[in-house]
Symmetry: C2
């Protein structure tokens, strides 16, 4: 069973991702280490004791559609009530509406633990947080007053309604339509698919944020508006009014996250009588809905990255526990009598250490991204930190979610035949993890974003400045003269040079207008960046003086990553720099 | 829907894996190209038209245990009857018992197609074929006469009963026991788990091959005997007698291959009354059961490799069809109006070409392994070909099954959100594929076998001779002077040099008694070998004069593999040669 790694998370936040310095500089006001530790500890307890025990039944029963109502798995309604009662829903929400306005860093750490407990369950608050953010940033004062407090408390949940059957990655072609009403509200018509927690019975109301197109809107993404469309209309006194004209038509039958209802939503079908059209209110300005939606999408991408970290952590814990217990054969250097625990077999150890390194690497990248977000909002040099957050977001999303799939798959392998048996739980991690590289922008789209929009930030200075910081870490490893690092300093230097060369090549290709060539290597580049960050951040942690007696372990894991995983960076650089021609030539096979 | 790639399979058999030469040399007697083509074509038709359409219902319904009987999914009983009627069960079985004694090469090609149609269904004949082989090789004349004809026809199916809860990879500790009876038969007692097709309602009888230990047997693997234990006892006239004392206690709830009943079998429980103990007959000699079982295990390993190839092919077909239909966004070099088919986006093309290269690479490796088996049985220089087959078996099993998982996962990614929806069918391939790297010896165990038992064959001459053959292929690419190959010749030469260096290092480490160091890099070495073979065999196919007009495509795919996938070989060599120290040091994290 999963146990939240509170100490490792606190260490990573403070000593690697930058929270220690931020706290010292009073970036978060009165927030101090003690409160941070207390929140992490309590969030970890909730994840370990309340969420994780209900993950398996959630997977087995799944969400069910009965007579138009979605029933959650047994115990999940109560779990959600406990969640609200614990005050977890408003960690980062504005204080004016009952939130705690805590740093994003703290939120992603908590998100990690809740997703380790049950990714399907944690999706509900994740979506609500995104909706809160969009309404906070772009909603009118009236909308905020009417909706935010109950969304912050969690009494009402929120959703994002983007996708339509023909419009997934390409939102510009969506067809849902909105008609203006005389009172300033709108009527919404259309079908939306893949709506996470679009309908359920754990909250009194569900606040849908819906992208739709006005009759006179231009084609493409500049003709899309964002609307707030509640399941139940809300009276002026805050009480619930009649049912709005929207409903859940069906639930998807998915590979994983079974407890999370993935809904097809129908707007404006007239199912409940009266005039047709779901009543909604504009968020932000007409035809500028996509910009509003991006507010929540960037944070949602980091939140999805946390799902990858979370699955990696949970899968690693389970596999390691199994490998220590299960005995088979004799390990080559075994000194004991009888069979060896399989953890002693070199190949099993290799898998487990790979899992550990990828977990900690993706964790640190994601926390560093949250740190940049916090800095961009609270520190002086906003542009630098905005850019850093923008640069790190696609890497955090893609590297962490790819790692989640890889680690979960390795976790099954460590279990041998038992890994294929559902009751063991190892397979669920792979099934749940597999959606994360897809939604909130596929990892291929993250790579396009990274290469075409993030590398050129400040004329390339943001990324080259970042690489310079990484070089300093490698040099610090060299200066440390610690034997335990082995070849780490040299390995990091080579890997960073690979990143440097690939970056320069891509910037040149973009400047020359060779977009197809640059995009051919975008995904290998994204992984290259993530691996280099993994090595460097593991090194930063290993060099940190935490006083927790784990320095030797951290050095050993860093060395394993540097001397095993980072061997791949040369190949990735090569694929970026030299891979496009053969890819283009081979397209005749796909015609 | 899957369509058997009969032409590509025939090309690979004849022009890459060695069948053309074998036919010319009349290695298989009267067997000619025409008959080969006809058999492949008809097997492909059966897989495409009969098996594949029932895969989805098999997955959805699964095998069910009802009142101690296993019910197959709707239509599967009839499918199995049609299978028998088509005469497919005895392709390689001895002619004396109604088989066709056809080459293994033809059999693995057919296995590929059946597994592409439905891996869960194809497991039934796969297990029966293994049992036929063990009885043929080691059974007494009486056993053969009584059982083989009906196993060859498929009226009766066969199973392998190895695993017990505490004895998976390490068979030496199994506890099932056998007691001698006065009439020369034995009584068997014990529990076996993970028994594929251990019970079902499609055949009249099920012939279990069971490993058990005699009362006076020594501990370990040299105290294990193999028994034939039928579900129904068989009268001397061949009719079925009373039920034997064995039954299926429960079915596993698995990640995939739902249509295949995975049984816990109980022997000697007295469930059906009478004296306790399932009646069985010795196969081979007492205490030499493991050697008998290895007869079928080696072929079973190749058969599992075919499952990887099969899933890769089917997943690639499905993803490519989707990517040609689905439009989203505009590809960078798009010339048409409106959205582009996603196959035109470079990152999607990269995924699909990777899938194609891994599919064809693993196919060729597996066919080459089958060719070596055929040669070892029918050509003069047996030891060479026995060793070649032995060397290729762990690579065929591991590389193909790892590729199956990777390709199926990429297939989901190509589908985007639709890939996560079960009805699409892309997710099933990943769920089915995930067992193949585990059973018949985990891929980690294959790597141990490859490094510690196969590399030292003929004092290392077998592997170095093989590498010399690969160098000749790379040189032939260089001599061809075909522009389409790009940097292929140079890339192949570098990759082969990596394999050469890693091989030499491992042979030295083994000679020096540094087993733990060698085993630390065994899995990376195994993948390195598979990648190099992929590049070289794709090149061999691209150089072949097939006259089918696909030469340009084959050259392009070879170049893509050489300039993209083979970039990884340097990292793999490095992990073999340099990875052990950091792995050993990092074990403190696993304690």
């Amino acid at each position: 069973m999963y146990k939240a790694p509170v100490e490792e998370i606190a260490f990573t936040l403070k000593h690697v991702a930058g929270m220690g310095e931020a706290l010292s500089n009073r970036l978060f006001g009165d927030l101090g280490e003690d409160l941070v530790d207390a929140i992490l500890s309590e969030a970890g307890r909730f994840a370990t004791e309340e969420v994780a025990p209900l993950a398996e039944i959630g997977d087995r029963q799944g969400a069910r559609l009965v007579d138009g109502e979605v029933r959650l798995p047994d115990g999940w309604r109560e779990l959600y009530r406990n969640w609200i009662a614990g005050g977890w829903n408003g960690l980062t929400a504005p204080e004016a509406f009952g939130g705690q306005a805590l740093p994003d860093m703290l939120n992603v750490a908590a998100l990690e633990m809740w997703n380790s407990g049950s990714m399907a369950f944690a999706l509900a608050p994740t979506l609500t947080m995104g909706a809160i953010e969009a309404v906070s940033a772009h909603g009118s004062a009236a909308l905020k007053d009417k909706y935010l407090a109950k969304m912050v408390s969690g009494e009402w949940t929120g959703t994002m309604n983007l996708t339509e059957p023909h419009a997934g990655s390409d939102l510009g072609v969506l067809k849902a339509r909105a008609e203006r009403r005389d009172d300033g509200s709108y009527r919404i018509f259309g079908q939306k698919i893949f709506i996470t927690w679009g309908e359920h019975d754990a909250a009194d109301n569900i606040i849908h944020l819906v992208l739709a197109r006005l009759p006179d809107a231009r084609a493409g993404t500049r003709g899309i508006s964002l609307f707030l469309v509640p399941k139940f209309l809300v009276n002026d006194d805050g009480s619930l009014g009649p049912r709005n004209d929207l409903f859940c038509h069906s639930l998807e039958h998915k590979l994983g996250i079974h407890g999370s209802p993935t809904c097809t939503m129908i707007y404006g079908d007239g199912r409940f009588g009266g005039e047709k059209g779901a009543i909604g209110w504009l968020i932000g300005e007409e035809n500028k809905g996509l910009a509003c939606m991006f507010t929540m999408m960037n944070n949602a991408r980091l939140a999805v990255g946390m799902q990858g970290v979370a699955i990696s952590e949970a899968a690693t814990q389970k596999a390691l526990a199994y490998a220590r217990e299960r005995t088979q054969g004799r390990a080559p250097d075994s000194t004991g009598a009888g069979m060896s625990p399989i953890v002693e077999h070199p190949d099993v150890a290799r898998m487990l250490l790979t899992m550990k390194a990828l977990t900690q690497g993706s964790r640190t990248i994601s926390y560093a991204c949250a740190h940049a977000l916090d800095m961009s909002r609270r520190a002086g040099d906003n542009r630098h930190w905005q850019e850093r957050a923008a640069l790190l977001t696609p890497i955090a999303k893609s590297f962490s979610t790819d790692a989640g799939v890889e680690v979960a798959s390795l976790g099954i392998q460590v279990h041998g035949g038992m890994g294929f048996i559902e009751e063991t739980g190892a397979a669920r991690y792979l099934r749940d993890a597999r959606i994360a590289p897809i939604y909130e922008g596929t990892n291929g789209i993250q790579a396009i974003d990274l290469v075409t929009r993030k590398l050129p930030l400040s004329g390339g200075d943001q990324v080259t400045g970042f690489i310079a910081e990484l070089k300093a870490i490698a040099e610090a490893v060299g200066r440390s003269n610690l034997d335990g690092f082995g070849e780490t300093a040299a390995r990091l230097a080579v890997a960073i040079a690979d990143l440097d060369a690939a970056t320069a090549w891509l910037l040149k290709a973009l400047a020359d207008g060779r977009a197809a060539e640059a995009l051919a290597g975008a995904s290998p580049y994204q992984r290259l960046f993530g691996l280099v960050l993994t090595g460097c951040y593991l090194a930063k942690g290993a060099l940190a003086e935490s006083g927790d007696g784990k320095g030797e372990s951290r050095i050993a894991l860093c060395r394993f990553a540097a001397e095993n995983l980072l061997a791949e960076t040369a190949a990735l650089r090569d694929r970026v720099v030299n891979g496009a021609a053969s890819l283009a030539a081979a397209r005749i096979l796909l015609a």
